[in-house]
Amino acid sequence: MGVSRRTFLAWSGLLGGAALVAPSLGLSGGGLVETAAEAAGEEGKEAAYYTACARNCGSKCILKAYVKDGVITRMGSDDAVADDPNNPQLRMCLRGWSYRKRVYAPDRLKYPMKRVGKRGEGKFERISWDEAFDLYAQWLKEVKAQFGPGAIYCMDGSGSIDLALHSTWRQLGPRFFRMYGGGTEQTLSYSSGARTVATPYTLGNLANSSAPTFRQTKLMLMWGWNPAENGMGTNTAYFLRQAKERGCKVYVIDPRFTDTAASYADVWVPLKPGTDVAMMSAMAWVIINEKLQDQGFVEKYTEGWQEWFDYITGKEDGQPKTPEWAEPITGVQANLIRQMAREYAAVKPAALVMGLGPQRTAYGEQVARCGPSLAALTGNIGILGGYHALMNWMMAFPSDGMKTLPMPGKPTAALPCNQWPDLFLKGKSGGYPVDIHMAVATGANYLNQGGNLNKAITALQNEGLKYFVVHEQFMTPTAKFADLLLPINSLFERMDIAHANGAAVFMPQIIPSLYESKSDWEIMTQVARRLGFEQEWTGGKTEEAWLKELAATSKLIPDWETFKKQQIVRLDLATPIVAFKEQVQDGKPFPTPSGKIEISSKRIKEANNPKMPAVPKYIADWESPGDPLAQKYPLQFIAPHSKQRVHSAFHNVPWVREVEPHALWINPVDAASRGIQNDDTIRIFNDRGEVHIIAWVTERIMPGVVALTEGAWYDPEEPGKPGSIDRAGCANVLTSDRPTPFAGATSQHTCLVQVARR
């Protein structure tokens, strides 16, 4: 573990003032819970506390930690209530169960460090916290004085999320820099950039329905949506199983035969990446041509449908979007498209549920608008068991209305997060509003997680970037590029409140901060002190006082002391949440300019962007089989999520690594033509980089497409050198950073590669 038990015993005395309250638990089927008051002072006694797994996976599950002598000895999950199919326990996945190995990972950063080698070489020397705070403050002062606050880039990642206090995502960093006078912030996310901009043009907002509503669904089209491997909200996979057991028929549309396809699909429909809109358009053609649409719904609730019909029927461009037209584009047989279209139009309620993968493509804005248009065509919006085809990473949960940390002020500039490498390299000369001279990463492994990793290396190594400060728990690929590297504690080492899915969870400080680690909040407090805004930063309040104040804004949380004891408060999950129910059932207008679902958008038309038509259209991706580049790089490359990681988090945990190999999925046809056998080490390459990893030859992926799950930690043969061969299987060595034309979002799934034996 790297920390001796003796050290923990020495620290356990520190816990007196910390948040080790006794949870009073009405356990059913649950574990032994000694009161902390007894246990904390007593050597050899085991105590147990609930907390929440606050990771960016879409779910928020209950973690339970058993603690002895200040050390977490094992994990548990939600056993505080009896399990009930309508209100199931908030059980966690394998990552939650592996959390102890993450807390005590040997590569936890132990003390503050300053870079000594070249940026990215990963050479550091240990410094004291005082030196670190002084340096941090001095650099900020210098850059702000010389270039203005906009030269400071706030790289806030999702390493810590949905927490009242310690969320890095769009919370601590932006709050800190706004108080310091500005900073350049990130907008959108790598996950959902295109749909976040595009879908509201159609539906008005991003409202979602809850997973239990699918229990009423008779037909589901799970489109690029993989809830068996991505949480999609705690218990979503379980509610979907309940739907199956009630007889729901399921199509899974995905280039891979995912665990979702294996577990739920009656029919798997492999579809070439980036061709979703072609297939949806062909389904719309069948429905319109055979007059199967819900014309009443279309006329009452939608705007601009005639214009879309003209595109679909070919009246507009002379090309009817028939299944025969779509077959060579999508790789899906025309008859299968016909069958799906007819069933989707005939069976009600039917849910077209979409994941975010299809919108992380060149023209991701189109699919983000086409799905809801198709759902409107069949009248499946606003009804129980239907779905509005929102591309999502989690289903809706009831909300307790708790407020978040106040965020005064404004950033100097704000740009889509995925554009940072280009911004760092070009600044104002590239048309950006600012030049970046300093960056601060909190909870962000963006070198690893953004498109075109080698370009990102050159961005971090460019001389204009004077300082790079990284707050991290581990020596990640991004951390290796830090000038100043600060060790952050884990969620077990600080007090917080989590919004679990349908619950609020009091998260006590369960163990002392390991080594010299501190929370982002503490670090920012110290730096704010040196920069003269500590009072504004803390508001003169302790962390607990903030939590108590925020908790008081929740409809659900009782008084603070009761909440601290009770730890978990829950909302009823069984009451279905149906997005746009008020619009469809009660006649409220949709939150769009016309008050209707805007299949055609005037606002988009006015933007006059040739790559953003007013109605959703199929536009062939730049790196796709039709691109001349395909001569050189004939395989489409996608980087889906792995159940083993939350993006790059948990990559360093051996228990999750062990469950399955990290490898490139390749169809036997593509493998055979390259002389590749299962488990061979192969080269995957394009003009952006080269990865060496083993091949997973499988019938579970369509020919012409290869897949490597994102999040493995970049491991270059030559650290710090752009273009080095990666030996870890980091997908972003190959992906592109080219933004989508309207949202400026990431298009990482639009990528061509070649694969060869090494």
């Binding site: 094992r74 394998l94 169960w97 068996a228 798997w268 169809n667 019938e699």
Partner: protein, 199 residues
């Protein structure tokens, strides 16, 4: 409950292969990389565009006629009155006979300890009236634990074995499985962690 053979029910139709049970077991039993006392194996077959895959989560089957008990030269295995088969690691000499003999490969050699080890049915939790940790962890509620007779009554379609599993006559495993149609199709390979076995 005494005298009634305890066992696991595994709903193969529900299982999504998420491995939560497997990692919960590793945490509860504090296992290093290597031994996986409960492991989720993925059976794959068929050919594109009609492949199939299903997962079987299996630990020790606490057999009625446990071969581990028979082959152990030092008597490290005992079968409790409730049918759970317990391995006493303090008596184990690491001869590995049990690891070779068990048709389900439930006992596994732990390199870090130089001894065998296997699922004990979380008897410490069971004795306190709780469920084994894997059952508590199952996201799909595909694992159940209890008197075998009751499990069989609750799940009349459950079977003692599947075509890909060893002949149950050898040890009479205390397990019931809810099959799915694919179990009758010829598998091409079985994926077991980082090991893949062609069938």
């Amino acid at each position: 409950m005494a005298n009634k053979q305890l066992g696991f029910f595994i709903n193969v139709e529900r299982c999504i292969g998420c491995h939560a049970c497997e990692v919960a077991c590793k945490d509860k039993n504090d296992l290093e990389v290597g031994p996986r006392w409960r492991r989720v194996r993925i059976v794959e077959g068929g050919a594109y565009p009609k492949p199939f895959a299903y997962s079987i989560s299996m630990a020790c089957n606490h057999c009625k006629d446990p071969i581990c008990v028979k082959v152990c030269p030092v008597g490290a295995y005992t079968k409790r009155e409730d049918g759970l088969v317990i391995h006493d690691q303090s008596r184990c000499i690491g001869c590995r006979y049990c690891t070779f003999a068990c048709p389900y490969a439930a006992p596994q050699f732990d390199e870090s300890k130089g001894k065998a080890g296997k699922c004990s049915g979380c008897h410490d939790l069971v004795d306190k009236g709780q469920e084994p940790i894997c059952v508590q962890a199952c996201i799909l509620r595909a694992l159940e634990f209890g008197p075998l007779e009751e499990l069989q009554q609750k799940h009349p379609g459950a079977v003692q074995s599947l075509p890909v599993l060893p002949d149950p006559k050898v040890t009479d495993p205390s397990v019931r499985l809810q099959p799915r149609p694919e179990v009758n199709s010829r598998p091409a390979r079985i994926v077991d962690g980082h090991r893949t076995r062609q069938v």
